[in-house]
Amino acid sequence: MSAILGLGIAGAYDAQRLRACVEAGFEPRALFGSSAALAREAGCPHAGACASFEDLLARADVDVVALAAPHERQAAQALAAGKHVLCERPGALSAEDCAALVRAAHRHGRTAAFACARLRAGGFTSLARQYLEAGRLGALYRVEAVVHGRPQGLDPAPDASGLFEDFGYELLDQVLDLLGWPRVRTLCAHQAPEPPGRPRHLSLFARAGRGIALSFEFASGGLLRPRHSINFLGDRGGLLIDHAEGGRGFSFFEEAPGRRAKLLETKAVFKLEPCGSILEAFREHLAEGRPHPGTTPEQMLELARWRERAAEALQSDREVLCV
């Protein structure tokens, strides 16, 4: 495959997002749903407008299709047409939709990336991964992720229909990926009653494989103190990623039997990588065989399952057993 990847874009993009694609090394060649004038404005004059999505798929110079909105049928069609797929907002894709995309990607030997992996790109996440992979925490027993407010650097999702679409997927993706996508045995959920104007607050409490108690707190708005932290507790050490402004940054505590754990490392600077880096990593994955930057279709399926289990737990007013 040539190093330059031709991009077909479906759905309403704005100039800024188009430019991000260009900066990531893609070459926009066909548009469906956005005007050619927009492409010119974004500095890609060769991108022509298509009359239909099928026309866009028929273009041989389009290697990758970017979808502005979640669209299971379009994604499946694009995979079947031999295109890779970049899905900007996973939105309300169901687990069933995701499972179908996993199958389609396998069948057609193509891949998809869902833009839920932005928090993975932050410097602290890769540092945490090094500690976890080196076994420096020993046996993990507790992982807790809390976001009160909004993760720094993540743009608000104006179309978000719930906390998962807003930033929940990103937080889940960050934590679950660090944990190697553990199996979940049980899931409890609580959502604050939500008359208009009430803050949204969702609590999830799961028993994951290997005896890990895994919890997530998502609050958008509300009168809690802003927080964005992830805690990993193990019998050999503990990790704290604290993204909040003025937070502690990155800390690692090493077990010291009978005494207070030694604080071995603190890094206080956190900067979320700009959005473009995921696009770029996806391009590098496709063109140069680098590792998939996430979120893969299989992982997206897992995220969709989390959302559906949470919805089931809320609706049935009981803990859900996940088999």
Partner: protein
Amino acid sequence: MNLERPGIALIGCGQIAANCHLPGIQASPFALRAVCDAERERVERFKREQNLDASVAVCTSLDEILKLDGVQAVSIATPPASHAPLSIRALDAGKHVLCEKPSTLSASENRAVCAAVARNPGLTIQFFSSRFRDGAAPAARRFVREGRLGVPYKADIQFWLPAARTCDRGGPPWFGQKAHAGGGPFMDMGQYFLDRLFFILGWPRWRRLSAQTFSGFPTGNPPGVVYDVEDHMSLLAHFDGGLALTLETTARVNQHYRWSTTVAGSAGTLILDNAAPRRAVFRALKDGVPVEEDLEAPESAPDMQARLERLALRLKGERPELGTDHEQALYITEFCEAAYRSAAEGRELRAPEEAA
């Protein structure tokens, strides 16, 4: 009975007796009539080291105390396994009871205490899980009652002491033994914060909870000494009215300290300190911006003294608010018991009346 100077006996002459019970009694309207410990050597040393008056009797059992005249109340400062048997026996002998937390080891023990209260009308029992109800808690309760939080929807209790296990500091081994202590930091410290939270929120009904515990850190105990309580407890509980509680207690964790209780409501959030009961803030919008104000927390007498002052008023026929009563204690124990069972069984449990 001398209502100006009623008599009290102190049972258990260990650490909390010296640090809290004795000074509280000495500052209160009560006269110390007897000190008691199952181990004679300890009670004698206690009397000597604390320079107690020669008239204070030395006992090695509750039965000996019950033979004395002029004892209206007993103060129980023994390990938890003896709380229920001592309390029940004292109530049945006509004594008012003050008892350390955790109230008892199990809900069935608590029910036996409730039955003893019921068959002895006029007597009172108060447990010390109410210790954190002083300080800012009354102001916090007022804020809730006045609707300043709007609808409370999320509470959170965090108590993380990274290296505070008794077993690592040469303390009495019973703290680490389920049969004597009932549980680990969740029983020992969690009950304070559950008590205060329930007090502030007007004893909301819990409906279901799911919990997980971890224990696995080696201890500083000599070989052969049992250590079988949890090191870490995490739970999510659902209450009536759409309120949820997350809780996390540990005295052994590779992390920073944490000690706060938070109650988030639609119109404001309370944040209370779990180490300094007088420290608390209320966070709400002012001109569209979140602002934090300190809660009023009047200086109060140490809890032992305060509870005894109120008990003395009670003996005179007044009805001041006492510490954690038998029913509240039962409610807290049921919650704790359900949490431990949920953790052991790896599944959610519903409150007894929910399940029925």
